[in-house]
Symmetry: C2
Subunit: 574 residues, 2 copies
Amino acid sequence: MKLKNLVSQRFKERPADCLIDSHALMIRGGYMKYVANGIYSELPALRRVTSKIEAIIREEMNAIDGQEVLFPIVMPAELWQESGRYDSIANELVRFQDRNQSKLVLGMTHEEAAVHLVREYGQSYQQYPFMIYQIQRKFRDEARPRAGMIRVREFTMKDAYSFHTSQEDLDQYYQKCYEAYQRIFRRVGIPEVVTVASDAGMMGGNLSHEYMLLNEVGEDSIVLCAECDYRANMEAAANIVENVSNGATAPLEYVATLDCKTIEEVCDFFKTDISASCKAVVYQKNADNTFVVAFVRGDYEVNETKLSNLVGDELHVAEITADTPLTAGYIGPYGLSKQVAYYCDLSLKGMDSLVAGANREGFHLKGLNLERDLGEIDYVDLAKVKAGGICPCCKKPALTIQRGIEVGNIFQLGTKYTESMHMQFADKDGTMHYPIMGCYGIGIGRLAASVCEARHDEYGPIFPISIAPWEVHICCIRPDDLETKSAADHLYEELTKQKVEVLYDDREGVRGGQMFADADLIGVPIRVIVSPRNLKDEKIEVSTRDKSVHAVVEVSESLTYIMKLRERLYQELT
Amino acid sequence: MKLKNLVSQRFKERPADCLIDSHALMIRGGYMKYVANGIYSELPALRRVTSKIEAIIREEMNAIDGQEVLFPIVMPAELWQESGRYDSIANELVRFQDRNQSKLVLGMTHEEAAVHLVREYGQSYQQYPFMIYQIQRKFRDEARPRAGMIRVREFTMKDAYSFHTSQEDLDQYYQKCYEAYQRIFRRVGIPEVVTVASDAGMMGGNLSHEYMLLNEVGEDSIVLCAECDYRANMEAAANIVENVSNGATAPLEYVATLDCKTIEEVCDFFKTDISASCKAVVYQKNADNTFVVAFVRGDYEVNETKLSNLVGDELHVAEITADTPLTAGYIGPYGLSKQVAYYCDLSLKGMDSLVAGANREGFHLKGLNLERDLGEIDYVDLAKVKAGGICPCCKKPALTIQRGIEVGNIFQLGTKYTESMHMQFADKDGTMHYPIMGCYGIGIGRLAASVCEARHDEYGPIFPISIAPWEVHICCIRPDDLETKSAADHLYEELTKQKVEVLYDDREGVRGGQMFADADLIGVPIRVIVSPRNLKDEKIEVSTRDKSVHAVVEVSESLTYIMKLRERLYQELT
């Protein structure tokens, strides 16, 4: 492919709306174009990258006996009503009607379609285990698409679904898939991806892992232990707090605290540390808007995922109006209206003398001792882990928190979908059981962007050769010089004959500096410079985009040199 | 792949709702599964077929300098408002709103997205010509999905868009694409596909061709000349009628024709041939419901596409109510309300004495001579061609009409989209012009089904090796016999090592007859039978699904034999 024929533009300036580097570089490098909020078109360079990622994933899925299928994007509402998700999922699920007023949805995931496809096939234990997967577009009406291809509304995803007759069998397959994922991330050039225990969320089920690329632009918070291998998504990380009683036994006392709007102001007023306060955060259930109050120690934040799991319902931050049974700004566990459900976090357990809202306009309580003043309390874990917190695994106070991009996930779904959709198999005795499912996803575009985020410099992406749009980028400096042009043409032809994917820049009237800047911005791993200056000595220049190689090579040996370098770059990814 | 592990079921009975063979066989053979009206899931066998078709198409598109891209399925309404199609396309275009009430559509074709992607790239003549294509899912809310994968609502399509600075350049590229399409259809095993001139319909533009697989289950009517190469879609076929005056000069006369409801009854009443009558067919414009009457000779039918093109608007069959300025059952050109637009077909030109509606309840006219009684008339071509009609090319009365399945199309779009979407390029002088576009489509699933329709027998599909889900199907008869199993296993391994795609049936307890029936129903081109009976003589059986080859081969030579046969089958498709 000649660069001058490549359908793409390159831009010098960073677009103002690009908050992260990969987004900016993929726009600037002519990889993608904005169509609408969270919706992009892939230009040829990106389509080459995503095709290569897809091919690697296909190989690895086939290697663990996956069978590729294709589910529809548009599905009838009935299918999602069977699983219950037609009603339980909020706005992310696009619902619409066809010309006959039949209700349809846009596939944002395909558990229902997978069960539908194999419900009759899987009626005998002899068919098990099996795994089906697809690589298909999906649409999820995200509230806040961001960061280019990292969080979009329409995306290509590899989603796989495995079916098993026993938990042991799922465990075994889950492990195989776990390893296949490790190979995939190694092959696409980000072996540093870590797995973390995660919350299964709306997918249902039990055990699940996310594959995280640790990166400050990530939108996930990852909890890691500096002393052991413990890793978990913040949503799923257990928070351990060990309060030791200081023996304080002050009486409970109402104090006027007018003009104290925040927990910090209240603590200032009482001249007490924020960790000696009880903070209230109020939510409402999505389903019926009833209130749920979470009480945490003032220095902790509520983990909404944990709370939502406890409540068994999706929640949103409450809107407190005049007629609600809550006194905004003064909410505390003592004297709270019996109409309101509340949960006390473990961080409050064992605290002796707390400052808390008094549920009276303009008043707080001091000297609150939850067990003394409220009776027995069922403390629950609903706070976010803090840096320096206690590791649930090795029990050392060594937790750190990092940001990460989720580049893949694997879930043990259990029988959530097979039960709700009435898929059963007969075992050897003819007894009927629900098959146990696993599901395994990787977003293709997000993975491409994540690799770019992890592998770039200020000038452009540094794509690993396995997924780079081309393997070799030839810059012909001064194509108006016949000898130079002919040498570059010859190399281009020879490499192409060897099935090497070459992007060839033979644009006339473009200076070397511009060519190199464009090459940097495209980010092909091997660069070859053919110039009159080097050709005088029968040489060409070969370098790598990551600057690890820079060589001046005899023209006569250049083909061999490039072929070997290319092979080595591939080997480094295995 | 072992057949016993293949995710698929096979059914003996033809499903009652399958009207055509390919649909029935692809359901019975475990190729696809119904999800909703016009929506199917592809099982592994079909996904293998469609992947191979996609690969062939990619090769041919890349060979004519196509650059693969990916457009979104979900697009903002604004994009379709720019081209005007947001309003001009009826129910086929799915419109919906996202969580922020932004209007979106589901892509049913991607002209708008293509122009959007390259609008800035194509600002200089130096970038031209170029072609971009994608292979992507689409959704079209068809009123009447039918015939399995032949007419569905959701489908995978290869759609390509080329951009040119001159008509000559488009013509040249159009010819290249024309030939690429010929290669594609040859390679997937249906070289008999013919091209026909077609009506561009809602795509806009001028010249266009459809690639038709002549087949009685097709939903298109194709007009072919038995004497020359003329071929056209019925929608686009010019209808030539040469009426010769018989000199009759009867006066115009009102006749009471109560109880004559149809044109046939009226002609019976007048004891005149139906070809001496003037038939009225009434439509309404989709846009404003105003009436349009088409008059044709009684023995012709209205070609609604021609009429719609003449009117310049989409039409539907009229609903005539009491307050309309039309007398249902008695509509004729003489005395018709001036409020109503009408068109007279060429088939009426030169007729002397017609029977026609009198626009009075209960009356027809006889002796109508259009020119004498109505003055000069601008006859237009709006009737369907009839078998035996005059060829517009060689002028012989040799037209025949056949049914066909449209497996591909190529359109010259002109500047319809570039003008409406303001895409311009500067030529050498700096003058701005609208680029000229071509577009080129092939439906992947429909092509798979069409090949099955053209290549099958009563027992199953006869897939060409280039797109068959596997190349070789091994039946191991009596896998409980150790020697047989070991010979079959060995052959399976050897072939797999040679990268041959093998489906291996080593199911225990399944009789040979059942294995062969299943092999027929799956339709893999090369079948190998390993059985105790033949093995006694050190032989195995090799045959082809189309019965052209049936050989008993020495075990020691079987691998070589199969490899050669496989190569030959591929060669036959080039």
